[in-house]
């Protein structure tokens, strides 16, 4: 302990004798560390926000869409372009695959809607009542349609928030009617906004699939099954998602009579999978932000090196005196490296505080969410001390290599 104490005191007194200079040097490190922490916290915050939005679509959601999977060397069929999934597939999945909570087949059609003097082109979704549960939908007013309304093919619509705002700018849409072609739909609910996300229903309306089949011409497969645009389902347990996906795959392959070598004519994706992909992308972005901020840390480090070189030059005589008193190269080296490290360590600590406050303020006032995590802090401090050691090494080595006679003669 004592062995480290003396050089530490020498190092700190070196820092203390030039308060302004030390402060400015530290400032470079403070800015660097604060920038790293702030930018990386923004990256982490954005990542967490997007993941939570994906989870809000339904944490245990699995979506099946028509179209091929990946082909080697070929072109993948665009998702949704083929008509291979059917309502009967959905029924079979619900009946035969275990761990399933709810299954929601749906079809889509682009239609022009008219209400009063307003009109709008929207994607109309024909769905079963399970759709509400599977996609975690909530209504801000009114209700989702019931099993009875579904079975009786009632001409009712649940509309997205943007649709509501466009078609009914001044009034409550619930209880009012919308014209779609020759059909009059009764609005029974308005959906809560999900923001701009894949799978958002803000600019959609949802009507019973049975009603959709009556109103809009539906295609059928060669076996006479009713084609749907996609099948969404939720599993009872997130851990079972892979098992469920595998079972669905083999069930659909046998139902679609695909030979052992044929590609799937459908794609299965889960929110888990989507979240993982997005998370990976966001992590890359976070690292990129951190790397940009690290440049300022590097500049700060060069500032430390600069000051240390000046400090060694200024204190040449002191170094000579210490050497005459019996200081070894190692003693001199330790003194200066500790001085550099204590500068950057102090800068690192202050930088953490500043970065933390900055990301808190940004998180509270801005639209960007922030998240400071322990690993970022540990990274920033160890990098700042590392920079001190790295950029302090050369000046300290210079000092330790001085010739004592010449050093004593220096002014």
């Amino acid at each position: 302990m004592k062995k480290w104490f003396d050089p530490m005191v020498s190092a700190l007194s070196g820092v203390a004798t030039h308060k302004l200079r030390s402060f400015l040097t530290i400032l470079g490190i403070v800015i660097g560390v604060a920038a790293v922490i702030t930018l990386m916290s923004i990256g982490r915050g954005a990542e967490a926000q997007i993941i939570s939005r994906i989870q809000s679509l339904g944490a245990n959601l699995i979506t099946i869409s028509p179209g091929g999977g990946f082909t080697f060397g070929g072109v993948r069929t665009a998702a949704g372009s083929a008509a291979t999934l059917t309502f009967e597939d959905a029924q079979a999945i619900a009946a035969e695959v275990p761990y399933i909570d709810a299954v929601a087949p749906s079809s889509r059609s682009s239609q022009q809607l008219i209400a009063g003097r307003q009109n709008m082109n929207v994607q109309v979704i024909g769905a079963t009542p399970e759709y509400e549960k599977v996609y975690n939908l909530e209504t801000t007013s009114g209700i989702f349609f019931s099993q009875d309304e579904y079975r009786s093919a009632a001409k009712v619509a649940v509309i997205g928030s943007e649709v509501a705002a466009t078609l009914f700018p001044d009034s409550n849409p619930v209880g009012q009617t919308i014209r779609m072609g020759n059909t009059i739909l009764l609005t029974i609910g308005v959906l809560k906004s999900k923001g701009e996300m894949p799978g958002s229903v803000d600019s959609n309306i949802i009507i019973p699939l049975t009603a959709m089949q009556q109103v809009v011409a539906q295609s059928q497969t060669s076996r006479g099954e009713k084609v749907v645009a996609s099948i969404a389902l939720t599993v009872t347990d997130k851990d079972k998602a892979t098992v469920v996906a595998d079972k669905i795959e083999s069930l659909l392959r046998s139902r679609h009579r695909l030979s052992a070598t044929a590609e799937n004519d459908f794609r299965i994706s889960s929110t888990e999978e989507l979240a993982a992909t997005v998370s990976e992308t966001m992590q890359t972005m976070t690292l990129l932000l951190g790397a940009i901020a690290a440049i300022s840390l590097l500049v700060g480090g060069i500032g430390v090196m600069n000051i240390m070189l000046v400090s060694v030059l200024e204190r040449t005589r002191e170094i000579g005196i210490r050497m005459a008193l019996g200081a070894r190269e190692r003693d001199i080296w330790t003194q200066f490296i500790l001085e550099a490290a204590s500068l950057t360590f102090t800068g690192g600590i202050i930088g953490i505080a500043v970065g933390w406050v900055a990301s808190y303020i940004i998180g509270r006032t801005g639209t960007v969410p922030t998240l400071v995590s322990a690993d970022i802090v540990i990274l920033a401090v160890s990098v700042s001390v590392g920079i001190g050691l790295f950029f302090g090494f050369y000046p300290a080595w210079n000092a330790s290599r001085l010739n004592p006679i010449e050093a004593l003669r220096a002014e």
């Binding site: 007194s13 005459a324 008193l325 019996g326 190269e329 006679i405």
Partner: protein, 222 residues
């Protein structure tokens, strides 16, 4: 205590070489007090640097306290300086930003001594016990040199080297300093070698070695 055998020191000066010491041999006994005198350029400072293990001879052998030190590495020489040698300089060479006490403690640090009482004791011996917490800039020249003496003797080294210790002081202060040095040397039985060009200062010593052009030209016992 000190045995020099045919010490030669050559400095490279660009393409030419400058021979500063041309075969110096001498012996200094334990507890002896010796003055080295000579005109400037005679090599007396170079000789003192070699004796102080701040430099190595080009050829020749140097035995200090029975051990040959002329072949040691930089860090081994530093070890010898920390254990066996105390320096006193003409310009005092105290660190200006720390107290007198801290300066004395600095003299102990590299000898791995960590006893503040020893430092206070050394300051008391040079009569500066009350000024322990003053910085060098708050002290007179004579007081500064007394701090430097305390720093040199605090680790009780067998050898004290002084380079013009009174060169920057008036004659009355010089006499004080020499009295302190002489008494401490006797008390701690240290060997003291000093470079000076003042004959009355040299007369505090038991022997004067005269150098000229890098050679010992005369020795006189007093």
């Amino acid at each position: 205590m000190i045995t020099l055998q045919n010490i030669v020191k050559v400095y490279p000066m660009g393409k030419r070489e400058l021979t500063v010491l041309r075969g110096v041999s001498l012996t200094i006994g334990q507890g002896e007090m010796v003055a080295i005198m000579g005109p400037s350029g005679s090599g007396k400072t170079t000789l003192l640097n070699l004796l102080g293990c701040l430099d190595k001879p080009t050829s020749g052998r140097y035995f200090l306290d029975g051990n040959e030190v002329s072949r040691l590495s930089r860090s081994e020489l530093a070890r010898v300086r920390s254990q066996k040698i105390g320096f006193i300089f003409q310009s005092f060479n105290l660190l200006p930003r720390i107290s007198a006490l801290a300066n004395v403690e600095l003299g102990m640090r590299y000898a791995d001594l960590r006893d503040r009482n020893l430092a206070l004791e050394a300051l008391a011996k040079v009569g500066l016990a009350e000024r322990a917490n003053h910085r060098p800039t708050e002290l007179s020249g004579g007081e500064q040199q007394r701090v430097a003496i305390a720093r040199a003797v605090v680790k009780k080294p067998p050898l004290i080297l002084a380079d013009e210790p009174t060169g920057n002081l008036d004659s009355r202060t010089s006499a004080e300093i020499m009295t302190i040095l002489t008494n401490l040397r006797k008390e701690q039985n240290m060997t003291l070698v000093m470079v000076t060009h003042e004959l009355d200062i040299a007369h505090y010593c038991q022997r004067i070695i005269r150098l000229k052009d890098g050679e010992v030209i005369a020795e006189e016992r007093l």
